[in-house]
Amino acid sequence: MEYKRQETYQKTTMDGGWKRVTPSAPAPRKDWMVQKEKTVQAEQTAQVERSVQAEQTVQAERSAQVERSARMERPVQKTQPVHMMQMETVVPQLNHTYSSGSMSTQPMPLSMPRPTMDVHPSFAELPYPSVEAMQYLDRESVRIEVNPPVISPLPPVEIEPPIYTFPIPDETECGYCITPAMSYTPMQKWGEVYDPDKGFSRGTIFPELDLPFVGEEARK
């Protein structure tokens, strides 16, 4: 590129007047400069590619999640609070109770119905044991009451992807707040004190505060 000379005027500080400044042509670019520019450009391109790829991955995952939740077909009433939603599944000809006695005689459905109870949405996301796995479980723990078939199921509600990645046991237990630790330090009371000479060597005149760090010795 041809460098066009341009004249600029700079205000001089000495007399307050104007001085004509003619900037000289820039020094020719060195090989290492060109190399560095190329490296920076390549790095920027790679970064853009990476971000596009990451975005595509996220999109794919989100669509898969929506598909999965749509497959579950959980009818949910919009007026109900989310944590009280009833899990009901249309399972025809299964108007009886699975108990330890009927497990062996009754035919098992191919897809297990979900129990009818108040379930936290985070629990609803947990996988339910398969028919094969149920046979090896404790029978008392897999007693499931199956509802009569739902005649007119409500239209499915679009389920948002879960925010929590871990199941929350009970809303009332901790109110969703996570308390890492609480400490309590009792107020000190004046009692026996060391002789000042001993206190001077121990670092405190209070025996209850004389707690030396023993480190490795604590294991012995």
């Binding site: 000190q188 004046w190 000042p196 000479d197 206190g199 001077f200 005149i205 209070f206």
Partner: protein
């Protein structure tokens, strides 16, 4: 341990006990036992300091006796001590 070191140690021990008691009194300002302990060792510290100053010169520059000589510079400097007292 010579006599100078013994007197100085006494001041240090009293100072330490007073300091520890002062920390306790910060949170228990009405504890009469602690106040009595502080009073006792405060007097003891004053006696020990007076004994030291009379014999070996000022502990701090505030121990200036008002005479016509500034005795603070007469004592040994920290790097002139034989060992840490």
């Amino acid at each position: 341990m010579n006599e100078r070191e013994v007197l100085l140690k006494r001041v240090q021990v009293c100072d330490f006990a007073l300091n520890d008691t002062a920390l306790y009194l910060n949170t228990h300002p009405d504890d009469q036992n602690a106040l009595a302990f502080y009073k006792k060792y405060s007097a003891m510290r004053a006696d020990a300091a007076k004994a030291f100053v009379d014999k070996y010169g000022p502990l701090t520059h505030m121990d200036h006796d008002g005479g016509d000589t500034w005795k603070w510079v007469d004592g040994p400097w920290p790097w002139q001590q034989q060992e840490e007292v």
